[in-house]
Amino acid sequence: MIAAIVVFSVLAAGVGYALGKLASRLPADASSLADQINQLLPQTQCGQCQYPGCRPYAEAIATAQAPINQCPPGGEQTIHALADLLGREVIALDTELGECKPAQLAVIREDECIGCTLCIHACPVDAILGASRMMHTVIASECTGCELCLPPCPVDCIDLQADTVNIQRA
């Protein structure tokens, strides 16, 4: 009886050690999965998913730290695409983070702009052109409508319009 206990404990220790060694030699490669997930996200870099951009959110999904319904701009279509890719249940959009609005563009009322460059630093895709104390303007074809430039503007001269320029983005 003692022999059985000894044999089994030695066996268990040996296999455990081997698996531990193996685990370190075979690191999980989550980045290729994150790329695939990032491909499905709408890339508005708006941060409504509580992550600083689409790429960080994709990495969070890849390492299963974030659910797949935290992307309001993507809406139902993105959730369906992520569910198909990852083989998970389709869950409804988490609406506290924001609604799925049609594509929109930020437009600066140029006469009120005081040139404080706060919005330039806030824009995640460098879509705002301008220098300090000079008039700023938004490059329409590059703007993703992420609304990040609205809060920092001291004179609140940026408003959101329906995106008619790159109509296909809608």
Binding site: P42, Q43, T44, G53, C54, P124, E142, T144, N166, R169
Partner: protein, 522 residues
């Protein structure tokens, strides 16, 4: 010149016995319409106008800024005053209304001074010939709607064979047959000119087996301008043998699968009407702004081919052709042939460069009801592109067009064969057309999203670079400071003495007194 009867054929297709094929409809020349409409957004071109309402324009004048390189310009078909630039009916856009330039015709029809692009075609170098062709805005009259210039320049391999597509395999379309009968020499001359332009070493005129009497007239006109490298082929009349890729497969034995195009295999396929227009352009130097349009259908009294100005509202042609009973909402309007034609809703829409046939049909007495698909695979038997329409339909109906791509949705040539044989009367081609449009739109969104992702990554790198740079500089300054404090500690260990400080304070007070001095003690 004995015509070669070709027997090889493509998979599938419909054997169509069409009574109207042999009877060529009369050609009626039409004068100038009262208004002319030019859509700014068509299937392959979009224009930004450089004119505004109220401005007078002359015939052949350019009306747009040439945005993308290689795009063909928009020319005024006749002289007149621009009434407005507003949304107007259009037969090509599914939504129905598109921003268009509407011109009130003044009737003089005088050319714009620099409308004539050259005087003698043969003196021009090959490049100036190409730029002239681009400026002439000659768009293919077949049905595809690609500009001839774009077809030539998109050829990655040198063109070896030029096929003149005089095949009119779709029932009810008659304009090419009429053109072959009246202007066979123009077509042949146009074919020669294009062959020399694109350097093709043999030219093939393809015509359908069913059109015997036109065949005779072609054989005679071919024998009088004798040339060795032009042959006449007679192809079996199986719909859609007139489609570009199917004709290339029958004539050259090269199977081209959409979205690949024959010009990438050294074969250029051009419609006969395009070549006739090319000939008139080459011989006169003026862009050709007219084309033959067949107006027919069960509701038309006298079906005929109309030599109409591009931009003429279809209503004018239908009024000339006359209708049995006045037009009602139930009448079905189709642009294109009766198998792959697309319906449109407002017959004020204009004639475009690739509008070859207008069908006006009486309301259908016994409309067929659509039933569920029973997977009988007849549609995949007749599909000329060898696809699986029944599988594509299943995935599209389940709302997943991207899954249908695995069964060949991108290679679909929208020929309409599957609709004709479907026992459940499912509008398959319409659903494929819509799904392809949605997928094109999604592809555009994906490109835009990738662009945003690229910009985001670049910005992240730049910010990282900046913080690294800042840290590095900080480290350097700290190290320099430490070095400097270490060196000062070695040379003078004690604190600088008190009187040196007092002397410094005395000097500063003195300087302060001098500065106010200039206004008080001088």
């Amino acid at each position: 010149m004995k015509p070669q009867h070709l027997t090889n054929r493509f998979q599938g297709g419909l054997v169509v016995s069409d009574p109207t094929a042999t009877k060529v409809l009369p050609v009626i020349a039409t004068g100038l319409p009262t208004t002319v409409v030019l859509p700014l957004q068509t299937s392959h071109n979009s224009y930004t106008p450089n004119v505004d309402s109220g401005q007078a324009v002359l015939k052949g004048q350019r009306l747009d800024h040439l945005t993308p390189s290689g795009a063909s310009p928009l020319l005024a078909p006749t002289s007149g005053v621009i009434k407005s630039i507003a949304r107007y009916a259009c037969s090509q856009s599914p939504g129905g209304a598109v921003n268009s330039i509407i011109i009130d015709v003044d009737g003089e029809d005088n050319w714009h001074p620099d409308a004539q692009l050259f005087h003698d075609w043969h003196q021009l170098s090959r490049d100036s010939q190409l730029t002239a062709l681009q400026a002439s805005a000659l768009i293919g009259h077949g049905g595809g709607g690609f500009a001839l210039y774009r077809k030539l320049t998109s050829a990655t391999k040198p063109i070896k064979t030029l096929i003149v597509n005089a095949v009119e395999c779709e029932p009810m379309i008659n304009c090419d047959a009429a053109l072959l009968q009246t202007a066979a020499n123009d077509i042949i001359a146009g074919a020669f000119a294009l062959a020399s332009l694109c350097g093709a070493d043999n030219t093939v005129i393809a015509i359908e087996n069913g059109k015997q009497q036109i065949l005779q007239s072609l054989v005679e006109s071919l024998t009088d301008n004798t040339s060795n490298n032009m042959t006449l082929c007679v192809v079996p009349d199986i719909y859609p043998v007139g489609a570009e890729r199917q004709l290339v497969e029958v004539v050259c034995g090269v199977k081209v699968v959409a979205p690949d195009i024959p010009s990438r295999h050294g074969i250029l396929c051009c419609n006969a009407a395009t070549l006739a227009a090319f000939h008139s352009f080459v011989s006169t130097g003026y862009p050709s702004l007219r084309r033959l349009v067949t107006v027919a259908g069960s509701a038309i009294q006298k079906p005929a081919n109309f030599d109409a100005l591009i931009g003429t509202p279809i209503k004018d042609l239908v009024d000339i052709a006359g209708m049995h009973s006045p037009m009602t909402a139930e009448h079905s309007l189709t642009v294109g042939g009766s198998i792959c034609g697309t319906g449109f809703y407002d017959f004020n829409a204009p004639v475009l460069a690739n509008t070859n046939c207008i069908l006006v049909d009486k309301p259908d007495k016994n409309p067929v009801t659509e039933v569920a698909c029973i997977r009988c695979a007849r549609c995949s038997d007749v599909c000329p592109a060898e696809l699986l329409p029944q599988q594509m339909h299943r995935h599209i109906q389940a709302g997943k067009p991207e899954d249908a791509q695995a069964f060949g949705l991108d290679a679909c040539i929208e020929c309409g064969c599957c609709d004709q044989v479907c026992p459940s009367n499912i509008p398959l081609t319409a659903s494929f057309r819509d799904s392809r449009a949605t997928l094109r739109q999604r592809h555009q969104i994906e490109i835009a999203a990738n662009e945003s992702a690229r910009r985001y990554d670049m910005r992240q790198q730049r910010l990282e670079q900046k913080t690294l740079e800042k840290n590095r500089r900080l480290m350097e300054r700290k190290r320099a400071l430490q070095k400097q404090t270490a060196s000062t500690e070695q040379s003078s260990p004690q604190r600088p003495d008190a009187d040196a400080i007092k002397a410094a304070m005395m000097r500063s007070r003195q300087r302060k007194k001098n500065r106010p001095g200039n206004d008080s003690t001088g």
